[in-house]
């Protein structure tokens, strides 16, 4: 394993630290959103702080839930469903 590979292995072992740093970053971004906003609101509600945070969270969760829980069970088939292999 190369030295860079060893660094990556160490990073993986510290995943809790990275996750906590990620949460801190999100809080900082929300705080910045209280003082930095758009010059012009394109969607109406995006003039309010937290709009894009809420949008990202809700859309991200909805997309994952819809495709994993509703779409995939309906359309998933075996690898050789068409007999191409």
């Amino acid at each position: 394993m190369s030295s860079l590979g060893a660094v990556f292995e160490r990073l993986r072992g510290q995943h809790r630290l990275w996750r906590n740093l990620f949460f801190v970053l999100l809080v900082v971004l929300l705080g910045l959103n209280l003082v930095i906003g758009p010059d012009e609101a394109h969607f109406g509600a995006d003039r309010y702080p937290g709009f894009f945070a809420g949008f990202g969270l809700i859309v991200g969760a909805a997309v994952v839930l819809i495709v994993e829980k509703i779409v995939r069970p309906l359309i998933a088939r075996k690898e050789d469903f068409y007999g191409d292999l």
Binding site: F8, L32, G60, V63, V64, V67, K78
Partner: protein
């Protein structure tokens, strides 16, 4: 073709395809880099104007329409051809290089075409070249996928051909210019459908995730860059401002990421994400303002760079461990750290993360769409941005690189070292992704349409907005990580219906043709064969009666031709297609020369 200061970039690639079969030894590989370098020099030095207007079949064909729109696409095609050829330097199979060269030549030809005749010829050349990039993976799966790909593109080409002929009948011109949507006739819609097939507009898209994951690793790198982006170019040229495209693009953007999130093969994830990313471009074309059209051109440029980088990274996985199936990957960050880094550059770029080129192009398209009051389309593109980050920015690198290596997955001892040229191709693409993200002007100054207020991506709000959207969609993944899985298998798409249609057509044709074939065989057995035997005995008598010498010579010639004929008739439709292409190009050239 050299006319004044215009050297058509296709010429170098066509010459390469022509001479490559006859070059001995191994040093021919370095010649692969010559056409891209000539193309780069050509497109960065050519001046706007109309060049290479030639008579053909009583019409004038324009092979060199050079303006700001064709130039920006030609520039990125030239850059991409160099990246692709560097990446493919280690490939021994000359057939792959010939196919790639014809394919790239076709793309350049389309971009500089000023009329539908030359556009159609180059369009079909692209189709044939890319089909062979699928065939040449030389598996049963890739052969079947190649046929489906070729059939679908042939149907798309027929729509284009029907449209352009009907258009000629109605207008008396083959000129390829902008068509206002208010004046659209049936033939314009036929042309639009032909273009939409190559742009992978839903529901005409399923050829893309079917074929790209089955192409050769380096072939997929070329394919992800040229087919859909050539289609984006012709749509921007001919159909800007068509509202139907704004709707279709929004559907593509969301549909593509939905499938990308649940796909099981890394290349299929990327293939579905092409549909999504091209959706942004199609929205920009449909909205049709200067800002959205610039956004489309800029995003096409950026997309070619980061998507090729992603396909190259996955090509490295296939080279090193032999698969791109997610359930068989994992734990590769330590073993392939540079591939991990380069993949991450591509993944951050496609997600629109600040510092990378997707950020300066994607946000331009969305801002232009919102400013043009296409609110729903702009929202759909924001949804697609979040979805892309989940599919390619988080899920794909997690399952390939960062999770622990699953039991029974790839074999550490059998891992192959990756050749230097593959790293070099990826590094070049990665450097450009970052450079364009940091210095957007290096891309913006080539944009084709002047705007009153130039778009400025690097503002506090744009950066914060991007980080909020991506960060909190990432939080959704962290919270729902338990349900994001990989499972072996495929997901049904519209190709299910294509196959049904194909089977129905086959059944309709098979029975009458089988009946005809039976009758013909019988007639041949009864009449033709006896006739042939009669002629043969006549010839035999003639031969024996004193002119043996002359006839023996002829017989030897006939024998030689017969052997070649027998060799050619090997039953492989791939080979017939290659021969038909050579014959077609020869006829095309002959008509040109004699006409």
């Amino acid at each position: 073709m050299v006319i004044s200061n215009f050297i058509h970039p296709s010429v170098g690639f066509l010459l390469l395809a022509l001479i490559l079969p006859f070059l001995p030894g191994r040093q021919w590989k370095w010649l692969l880099l010559v056409p891209p370098i000539v193309a780069l020099w050509s497109v960065f030095s050519m001046a706007p104007g109309v060049y290479a207007v030639l008579p053909y079949l009583g019409e004038q064909v324009t092979l060199g329409r050079v303006d700001s729109l064709s130039l920006i696409f030609a520039q990125v095609f030239a850059v991409m051809s160099l990246i692709g050829m560097i990446y493919a330097l280690n490939v021994e199979d000359k057939g792959q290089h010939i196919a790639a060269s014809l394919y790239v030549a076709g793309s350049f030809g389309c971009v500089f075409s000023g009329d539908y005749i030359s556009l159609f010829v180059f369009w079909e050349l692209m189709s044939i070249g890319s089909t062979f990039l699928v065939f040449l993976n030389r598996t049963r799966e890739s052969t079947l996928a190649g046929f489906r790909y070729f059939l679908f593109h042939t149907v798309g080409g027929l729509f284009l051909l029907g449209g352009l002929l009907l258009r000629y009948k109605a207008t008396g011109s083959f000129a390829f210019d902008h068509i206002p949507s208010a004046d659209a006739a049936l033939y314009d819609w036929l042309i639009l459908i032909g273009f939409c097939v190559n742009a992978a507009v839903v529901p005409l898209h399923a050829w893309l995730p079917d074929a790209y994951p089955r192409a050769t690793p380096s072939g997929a790198v070329f394919m992800c860059a040229f087919t859909t982006k050539t289609a984006v170019y012709v749509l921007a040229r001919g159909f800007a401002g068509w509202e139907v495209l704004a709707v279709a693009g929004a559907v593509m953007a969301v549909y593509g990421v939905f499938y990308a999130i649940i796909a099981n093969s890394a290349r299929r994830v990327l293939a579905y994400d092409i549909i999504s990313q091209v959706g942004y471009m199609v929205v920009g074309i449909g909205v049709g303002t200067a800002l959205t059209l610039d956004g489309t051109a800029a995003h096409a440029y950026a997309h070619i760079l980061y998507k090729s980088l992603l396909f190259m990274s996955v090509g490295c996985l296939i080279y090193a461990v032999g698969t791109d199936k997610l359930e068989k990957l994992g734990g590769l960050a330590e073993r392939l750290p540079w591939v991990t880094i380069l993949f991450t550059v591509g993944a951050m770029s496609i997600s629109g993360m600040p510092l990378f080129n997707g950020f300066v192009t994607k946000t331009m398209t969305i801002a232009g769409t919102a400013e043009a009051h296409h609110t729903w389309q702009a929202l759909a593109l924001e949804v697609a941005t979040a979805g892309t980050f989940i599919a390619v920015g988080i899920r794909l690198p997690y399952f390939v690189f960062w999770r622990r290596k699953p039991e029974g997955s790839w074999n550490d001892a059998a891992m192959k070292p990756i050749p230097w040229n593959m790293y070099a191709g990826m590094a070049l693409a990665a450097v450009l992704c970052i450079a364009q993200g940091l210095y957007p002007d290096m891309l913006y100054r080539s944009l084709p349409f002047p705007v009153e207020e130039p778009y400025v991506p690097w503002t506090q709000w744009h950066v914060l907005q991007a980080l909020l959207l991506l960060g909190f969609s990432g939080l959704a993944v962290v919270l729902l990580r338990g349900i994001i899985t990989v499972r072996s298998g495929i997901n049904l798409d519209f190709d299910y219906f294509y196959r049904l249609i194909g089977r129905a057509v086959l059944a309709l044709l098979c029975h009458p043709f089988a009946w005809l074939d039976d009758r013909w065989t019988e007639a041949y057995r009864v009449g033709g064969l006896r006739g042939l035997m009669l002629v043969a005995s006549g010839c035999s008598w003639f031969d024996r009666q004193g002119i043996d010498g002359v006839v023996d010579g002829s017989a030897a010639a006939v024998l030689g031709v017969g052997r070649i004929g027998a060799k050619v008739q090997n039953g492989n439709i791939q080979d017939y297609l290659a021969m038909a292409t050579v014959l077609g190009l020869a006829v095309f050239g002959l008509v040109w020369y004699l006409g």
